[in-house]
Structures are given as C-alpha cells and as structure tokens.
C-alpha cells in the first residue's frame, strides 16, 4: 500500500505568540510536527508495518519544515518531499493547488493528513486536495481499518460517531484518539539521515499561474486584549460559593 502523509510544521502548543512589524515572530520558537499530522504519520507507519508498502511524507512550507520531515522519517516514514518556494503563499487555495500539482503524476492508495493545523486552524488544505484529486475524503477520523481494498473509518462528529466505508484511493484526516504517536528511536534517527529526501520548488511542478494567486489576504494581525485581573474569593467555602453566584447575578449579569 502506498501511503502519502501531508504534513505541516507548526509552533509548539506551549509557545506564546509575539507580534512585531505585522508578523508573528519565529525567533527562538520551538517547532513541532502539527499534532494532528503526527497521528497521520503514526497511522501510515502502522499500515506499512502491518501490510507492507511505502510511506512518503510531504510538506509545502518554509525550509525549516525539513526538520519535521526528518522527524517523520526517524519515526519510520520511508521518503520525504519538501516543496519550498517563496512564490507559494499560505492561502489554502494555493497550497492545495501546489499539492494537487505534485500528486498529478503519482499513484497512491491513501493520503493522510491532520484534521487541522493548530497554527492557522483553517482545516482546508487536505479536504481541498481530495476534491482537486477527485477522490473521496473523510475528515476527523479516529479509527481506520483497511480490509480488502476498502477503508472502514470512524469519524468523530463533535462527539457523535459516524462509521463509513470508503473505496480507495481516498484521503482521511486524523483526529485525536486515532493512536498514540511513537517517539523517534535513536537508530531511527540515524537511519533517517540516509533516507531519500526530495527538495522541490515550483519549477519542478506543472501548475497554472492562476492557481498561485491567493484568494485571501491578511490586512491586520493582532493579539487579543489582555484580561483584567480577577478576584480571588475569600471566606469559608459555602460563603464563597454563595458570593460567586451573587457576583454572577449582580456584577456580570450572566445568570
């Protein structure tokens, strides 16, 4: 089975956001594989371990993304592809078009990705890619089994579960609960250095000029207003509970 994983490098969840000169500062930030994409990488490796085949991880993004692709190789992926080019904007229409151009001459059984990226949080690229490639997709998957050329998937729909049978090739996005991703082992890290790693630019792809024109643009970037200092209630616990309910009624007027 040939499995591709589309992956994005993101800020670590513990990072604070600092804005300067109209952009989010990246200096000193710790980067990770987007957590949802990590479930997808883990799933792809488990599929290969069970039934053979090949796992290719691919990212469209800045050069620094190569570290995350290396991590995925160290986890057990077989090959990595980084498409990095300053002419590619972050607009989801553009990113998915670039990926679609890459996949145009590829054959695959499965494409896996994350449910959404924890930085931009739009959750568009994977689903758009499925549409561009004209393959079925199911997003937010917490279970994936592959009996005889089909996929049986369970989707988390805000707490409800939807079970679907999907013919391959197909694209699925991973939701929390799909698995527990492994840490790269030391031998894995050593092996990763020798695995194929392809670096591409737009010049390596066939893509129409209009597919590179962003459909959206940012006009402002700002931090949310800081919350005002709160109040720590005092007294015996029953008094505090009564006081809190009263405050919610009189001061905040929310009850």
């Amino acid at each position: 089975m040939k499995v591709y994983v589309i992956l994005k490098q993101t800020f670590d969840t513990e990072e604070k956001i600092v804005i300067a000169n109209g952009r989010v500062l990246e200096e000193g930030v710790k980067f990770i594989i987007n957590p949802y994409d990590e479930y997808a990488v883990e799933k792809a490796i488990r599929i290969r371990e069970q039934s053979g085949g090949q796992v290719v991880v691919i990212s469209v993004g800045p050069k620094r993304s190569s570290e995350s692709l290396r991590t995925a190789l160290a986890m057990g992926a077989d090959e990595a592809v980084l498409i990095s080019d300053d002419r590619v904007s972050q607009d989801e229409y553009v990113v998915s078009s670039v990926l679609a151009a890459y996949f145009a001459d590829k054959t695959y059984d499965l494409i896996l990705g994350g449910h959404f990226s924890i930085d931009n949080g739009a959750g568009q690229v994977a689903v758009r890619l499925a549409e561009l490639l004209q393959i079925p997709h199911v997003s937010s998957v917490i279970k994936l089994e592959l009996p005889g050329g089909n996929a049986n998937v369970t989707r988390d729909a805000e707490g409800d579960l939807e079970v679907l049978q999907v013919s391959l090739p197909a694209l699925f996005t991973a939701q929390q609960g799909l698995n527990e991703p492994r840490y790269p082992s030391l031998p894995g890290i050593m092996k990763a250095k020798k695995k194929p790693f392809q670096q591409l630019t737009l010049d390596d792809l066939t893509i129409a000029a209009e597919a590179l024109e962003p459909k959206t643009s940012q006009i402002e970037l700002f931090l949310p207003p800081a919350r005002e200092a709160g109040q720590i209630l005092q007294g015996e616990l029953p008094e505090q509970a009564a006081k809190l309910v009263e405050l919610l009624r009189t001061q905040s007027k929310v009850i």
């Binding site: 949080g121 929390q176 919610l248």
Partner: protein
C-alpha cells in the same frame, strides 16, 4: 451588481442550530440592499425546519430532502448541494464551523475555485470591503482578512456573531428540490452512534463546566455533569484529563481539541497550561476552582475559589439550584 449570499443550514435533532442564525447574521452584514440571501437545508423531515427558518429575512429556502441525506456524507451532500447551486448560483456561501461545516466548506470552496475563511469570529463591511476576523494559534492571536474576489466561502465559529432576528414580515419562499443520488458513491455511511443526544453542544453552550487532572477519575466528572445540567451547560475537559483517560477526546478544550467561547467557563481542577488557555480564554466570564492558589488559571480567571473541587462544585450546584428554581 446584485449578489447572492447562501447559508447552509446546520441542524441537530430536528431543530436549527443556533450557528445557522449566526451565519445568517453574517450574511446580512456582508450583503447590501438588493442582494439576495438564500438558505439551503439538507436532510430528512425538513418541514418544521423550513417553517422555523421562514420567519427570518431570506428571499428563499431550498429544501433537499432525501433518505440518503439523513446522515452527513460529504460526497452525497456535495452532489445534492451542487444540484441546487445550478439554480441558486451563490456568490458567497456561509456555514457553521461545525462537524458538517468544517468538512463540507473546503470541498465547496475547491469545487467553486473559491477562497475560504474558516472559523470566522466577526465580520464587518465598509463600503465595498468585507473584512473577516478569525483566530490564529487557537486564539493566541487574531487576523483580519479580505477576499480577492467572489465567489467565496466562510465558516462561522459558533457563539461569536449575534444570531439574526426573525423579520416578522413576509415569509420566505420555500422551494423543494428533488435529489436523485448518484449510484456511484465511493463512500457509504454504515452506522451512526449518537453519543451527544439530548446534551448541549460544547461549542454552542452558553456555560461550560470543564475538568482537568484534578478531577482524578472518570467518576470525578459526575459532580461537574450535575453542575452543567443545572446550568443547562456542557461539560468540557483539559488535555490532561483526556490523556489520563478520564473522558473522551471529544470533550477536549485547548489548542488541540476545541475552542469554546461561552458566557461562563468554569474550570475545575485545571492548572491552565498555555495550550488549554488558548482554547477558552475568549470566554466572557472565567471561573477557576483550584486547590493551588499559584495555578496559572487563577491569573486568567475573573473569579477564583481556592479549594477542593469536590467540595466547591457541589456547593455551587446547590447555590445555582436555589437561585434558578
């Protein structure tokens, strides 16, 4: 030039979801005099939903009723939707950022070769310019964006844009569309397990009672569930509580998990890691109940009670019961 703004109605257990009316409000903000706002409802037994929606300022409501649309299936929904799009010809599509909307919207955008903004929390119009605000890094930052051109697609985050008001005037015209499913569907819904029936949806809840590692066990969530029930709210959890196996990942609030913006957020036994704060710090009122007076959550909270949640939460439940009865 007159535009057509189309909202796709999201419904649950036979009633419209609040976010549908918030999407309608977004469409009203975006539209100008002379523009059309239409709605599309897909599913089964849509009569009462159509009646409900007809009270709002819409030019027409398209019903696509078919057994194969009873449960969400991207392929079937897309094929039904694009059948209606041939007549509606939307310039812009609005849908809730929900289980259905977040899956459907990017596919619609791709088919329309359109831009999309996801998880929009506010929308403004100034002259010809329509500006959308949306969170980055789960709300640690925000961006304002504009589209390059029509058509476009927007998903609306629940609980942020005020709901549209019923017009009380002329009723919208209801148009029924027949839908014949294509026999060649590559994905089939085999089963649906409803685990949230009768419960308040976490992202739409006005009040969220959330538990962290301090809850200590799955049973430890019971007092939180009781409090949530009294308040007609929903129960959420921190990543710590989910990782420890105390509850389902569907409840997780944070940068991984869900972002919620209720009127009241009650954090019980949650220390307040940055990744959790990202998911709830836009709530209107935050209440922290924690044994540790140094916990970061207390610095974010409007009101804090330093104490054991297993003592405090039942006391609160009792107080609210007295007040709300």
């Amino acid at each position: 030039m007159s535009r057509t703004y189309t909202i796709i109605a999201d419904h649950r257990e036979g009633t419209l979801r609040q976010v549908t009316l918030e999407a309608l409000q977004a469409a009203q903000i975006a539209s100008l005099e002379g523009d059309r706002i239409t709605a599309i409802i897909m599913g089964t037994q849509l009569e009462s939903l159509a009646e409900e929606l007809a009270a709002y300022p819409l030019s027409d409501i398209h019903l696509i009723e078919h057994d194969s649309l009873q449960h969400y299936n991207a392929e079937a929904y897309l094929s039904a939707l694009f059948g209606v799009f041939d007549t509606v010809r939307p310039d812009a599509v609005f849908i809730g950022h929900t289980a259905v909307g977040r899956d459907l919207a990017p596919a619609i955008a791709a088919r329309l070769h359109a831009g999309q903004m996801s998880d929009v929390t506010s929308i403004e119009r100034s002259g010809a310019k329509i500006m959308f605000t949306r969170p980055l890094h789960a709300g640690k930052a925000f961006e304002k964006k504009v589209f390059a051109d029509f058509p476009w697609v927007v998903t609306v985050r629940p609980n942020n844009i005020p709901a549209a008001q019923a017009s009380g005037g002329q009723q919208a015209q209801v148009v029924r569309t027949t839908y014949s499913p294509t026999p060649s569907l590559r994905s089939v819904v085999k089963d649906v397990v409803l685990k949230t029936s009768g419960k308040v949806d976490l992202t739409e809840a006005k009040i969220v009672v959330s538990g962290g590692r301090g809850v200590k066990s799955a049973d430890g969530f019971k007092p939180l569930e009781e409090l949530a029930e009294v308040l007609n709210g929903a129960v959420g959890a921190s990543r710590g509580a989910c990782d420890a196996g105390y509850c389902d990942y569907a409840l997780q609030i944070g940068q991984t998990g869900k972002v919620v913006t209720p009127e009241i957020y009650i954090a019980c036994g949650i220390s307040g890691a940055i990744q959790h704060l990202a998911g709830m710090s836009q709530s209107r009122i935050i209440i922290a109940i924690n044994k540790d007076p140094e916990a970061p959550i207390i610095k974010t909270a409007d009101y804090s009670i330093v104490g054991d949640l297993f003592q405090v939460v039942p006391l609160l439940t009792q107080e609210f019961r007295n007040v709300l009865k």
